[in-house]
């Protein structure tokens, strides 16, 4: 409710009482409206809170978070980060849920970005067939609700793949079944931390090397093959340490025992379905954003860069992508937010995310609807604000770099 510049303000009106005079004045009117809106808004919130309090009181419930410290009593099988049993508390079950939501959101964002960029670029391909096929794929995925994609993939995995006893082997240690994809799990032995340290040291060295190389280039124009040297540093240094410490890494292979595979790692159908569906669904939106971003860089820029004698990939790297990114990043952020929020559809296939744990089973088993739902809302709010903050930071950085 911004007021327009006061150049056209009517002559001061002295008729009527104070209120009507204030009301006629454009600027003060806007202030009045804003105040009234705020008052009404807070009154409504207070009314809602009062309503909740009255209704809870009427059925004799109190608003309290004490239940978080009582025994959850239910099992969560999928908990890759946190040790959890049914004897743990609701609080811990909540952390398991948060971990699972984060896992699928982070994996989803990574895969969706990769797929989205690939599809976006392919959509602009000069090859008619490629761009048409990608176009059809994008239109199909974008226009079917993501819940159906999730159910579809889950259904396909569960009904078409064989049970564990007839699992399809891929090589000796990989198995595909309708209970998930079983792969060897790495077991880190003593001394592995040295390898990790070497890895970190290599990255630090690369950062310094890059700065130095840039300085040299600015001063003398000499260009080092930065990428290859960096890669060599990383692989060479880490690999050397790995050999020196006597290869402190072994594998835990999945083997069929009784009903299921034991050992190794399992990518369960619920995780796979949610991850893949969220990724390609979001990727189809990202593809369009990427396409729009690339098109938005005027053709003159590309031609000018070529005229300077830059090779095609340098044109992309130095001229097109930095400018396209400025257009791409803001809408990309909202796609990441969507993906994270859509991950709450996990409940449809029984992936134990935060909605299914604290906002589902804990809610039901304790009868604390208001409390658990408030917790879930706050958690999503934190996720969303964090993503926004990161993307804003990235956006600002891109702007500076491009200028």
């Amino acid at each position: 409710m911004n007021s327009t510049p006061a150049t056209t303000a009517p002559p001061v009106d002295t008729s009527g009482n104070v209120i009507t005079r204030l009301w006629r004045h454009e600027e003060s009117r806007s202030v009045i409206i804003q105040i009234v809106t705020m008052v009404v808004l807070f009154a409504l919130l207070a009314l809602a809170a009062r309503n909740v309090a009255i209704n809870l009181e009427a059925i004799g419930k109190e608003f309290s978070f004490d239940f978080l410290w009582s025994t959850a009593a239910y099992d969560i099988t999928f908990s890759p980060f946190i040790e959890y049993t049914s004897r743990d508390t609701h609080m811990r079950a909540m952390w398991v849920g948060i971990g699972n939501t984060l896992l699928v959101a982070v994996c989803g964002i990574i895969l969706a970005s990769i797929l989205g960029f690939l599809m976006g670029v392919m959509r602009l391909s000069k090859n008619w067939l490629v761009s048409r096929i990608v176009y059809c794929v994008i239109e199909f995925t974008r226009n079917v609700p993501v819940l159906l994609h999730i159910l579809l993939i889950h259904g396909v995995i569960v009904t078409t793949l064989p049970p564990p006893k007839q699992a399809i082997p891929l090589g000796e240690h990989f198995f595909i079944s309708n209970r998930g994809f079983f792969v060897p799990a790495p077991v880190f032995e003593e001394g592995f931390w040295l390898v990790v340290m070497a890895f970190i040291a290599a990255i630090v060295a690369i950062v310094f090397f890059k700065r130095w190389a840039k300085k040299v280039q600015d001063a003398t124009g000499k260009i080092y093959p930065v990428f290859w040297i960096s890669l060599g540093l990383l692989v060479g240094f880490t690999g050397l340490m790995f050999l020196l410490t006597g290869m402190p890494l072994s594998w835990d292979f999945p083997v069929l025992k009784g009903f299921n595979y034991k050992g190794g790692m399992a990518l369960r159908p619920e995780f796979l379905a949610l991850w893949l569906a969220l990724s390609y669904y979001t990727a189809s939106f990202i593809a369009e954003i990427v396409r729009g971003g690339i098109i938005s860089v005027s053709h003159g820029q590309t031609e000018a860069a070529r005229a300077l004698g830059l090779r095609q990939n340098r044109v992309l790297q130095l001229v097109v992508v930095p400018q396209a990114l400025r257009v791409i990043i803001p809408p990309l952020a909202s796609q990441y937010l969507n993906l994270t929020k859509n991950s709450s559809l996990a409940i449809a296939i029984g992936y134990m995310d935060v909605v299914a744990t604290i906002g589902g089973i804990s809610l039901m088993q304790t009868g604390k609807e208001m409390e658990t739902m408030s917790i879930v809302i706050v958690i999503y709010l934190i996720f969303s604000l964090t993503i926004s903050a990161i993307m804003n930071w990235f956006n600002r950085r891109m702007k500076l770099v491009a200028r």
């Binding site: 309503n51 209704n55 059925i59 099988t77 569960v158 009903f259 029984g350 089973i361 039901m364």
Partner: protein
């Protein structure tokens, strides 16, 4: 000022929320509305399911109909509010439903913590395990390492965790929302075992193409007393639901059936006369017409008739009366006197 109408609207809904959330007067609400809202399951054969024409049937639904017959004089005037294991109490407590008839186990925490009123046990049940014969498993103790389909938000989910923990066994929990989802995942082989109330297992098995290839293991690992529930704070309504259930049991005990209920009005047994409203003023005391129980039996039937019609030995579900026989026949179904 586009936002104004919306604001007024939400203010109105909030204000209305207060009135509809008010607790007493459920009977009046139902009579004014002219139909009874029952919280039922999303679908369990024999207990609550719809036929081709979309009409609701089943053991739980018949008790809902009995309540409608008593309160509105018409067993057809019901509306089914479907609920998963997780949504049922919220639906009841937010007044979406007037009463819950949905294979719901009475427990301490639901009675005291969730603040529900329970009204007796219309089905004595226990939790069992359903497995395919091909697995070659004969006892629940052999299930170490199995994948188990389990409905979230149920007592059975907690019993399962307790049972495997107590027996030092591990399992993969495959959480599902509805009975139908459980059935699909089980048949597709996503889980080795489906576990829920034994009655629910029998009902679910009856829909398989090869029911004979699946067995319910001998271990019954819990007590699942199933019964109706209402909200706190409306004693009159609680009394009505309680005595609707007792009326069906007393009718069976006294031999009053759908077929002979009219003749029974001239019975020599004073309790039957009180039940059918020929003598005394029990209907009035409940706030109902004098013939409330007559309408239940006339339109829906007594306990035994409801049982046999929906889940008894001659139905595809094929459940024996067992614990649910009358106390006079060695079972637990027992009604306090109508006096």
């Amino acid at each position: 000022m586009k936002f104004k109408p919306t604001l007024i609207l939400s203010a109105a809904t909030l204000a209305l929320g207060i009135t509809s959330g008010a607790q007493a007067g459920t009977l009046e609400d139902v009579q004014k509305r002219g139909s009874l809202n029952c919280v039922v399951s999303t679908g369990v054969p024999g207990f609550a399911y719809t036929d081709e024409s979309g009409e609701w049937h089943g053991f739980d639904v018949d008790f809902c109909r009995a309540t409608a017959a008593a309160v509105l004089g018409d067993a057809k005037k019901i509306k089914a509010v479907t609920s998963t294991g997780k949504t049922r109490f919220t639906l009841l407590n937010s007044a979406e439903g007037d009463v819950l008839w949905r294979n719901t186990t009475i427990t301490f925490s639901r009675d005291v913590g969730v603040k529900l009123r329970f009204h007796g046990v219309n089905y004595y049940d226990g939790q069992g395990f359903l497995v395919s014969k091909d697995l070659g498993v004969n006892s629940a103790k052999e299930l170490d390492g199995a994948s188990v389909c389990i409905q979230t938000g149920t007592t059975t989910e907690l019993n399962l965790a307790d049972y495997f923990f107590a027996n030092g066994m591990k399992y993969e929990a495959v959480p599902i929302e509805t009975n139908d989802e459980g059935r699909q995942n089980y048949l597709a082989g996503r889980c080795d075992v489906y576990t829920t109330d034994a009655s629910g297992l029998a009902a679910t098995r009856s829909t398989f193409t090869d029911p004979a290839n699946h067995i319910i293991l001998p271990e019954i690992i819990s007590k699942e007393p199933l019964g109706p529930a209402t909200r706190h704070g409306d004693d009159q309504w609680s009394d009505i639901v309680t005595w609707v259930y007792y009326a069906t049991v007393t009718a069976e005990e006294k031999g009053v059936t759908q077929a002979n209920v009219d003749e029974m009005k001239s019975s020599k047994d004073p309790e039957i006369l009180r039940l059918l409203g020929v003598e005394g003023n029990q209907g009035e005391e409940l706030g109902l017409p004098a013939d409330w129980a007559y309408q239940i039996i006339k339109q829906v039937g007594n306990y035994g008739e409801i049982f046999d019609r929906n889940i008894g030995p001659n139905t595809p579900i094929g459940l024996e009366r067992g614990l649910n026989a009358l106390w006079t026949e060695g079972g637990l179904q027992y009604s306090p006197p109508f006096r």
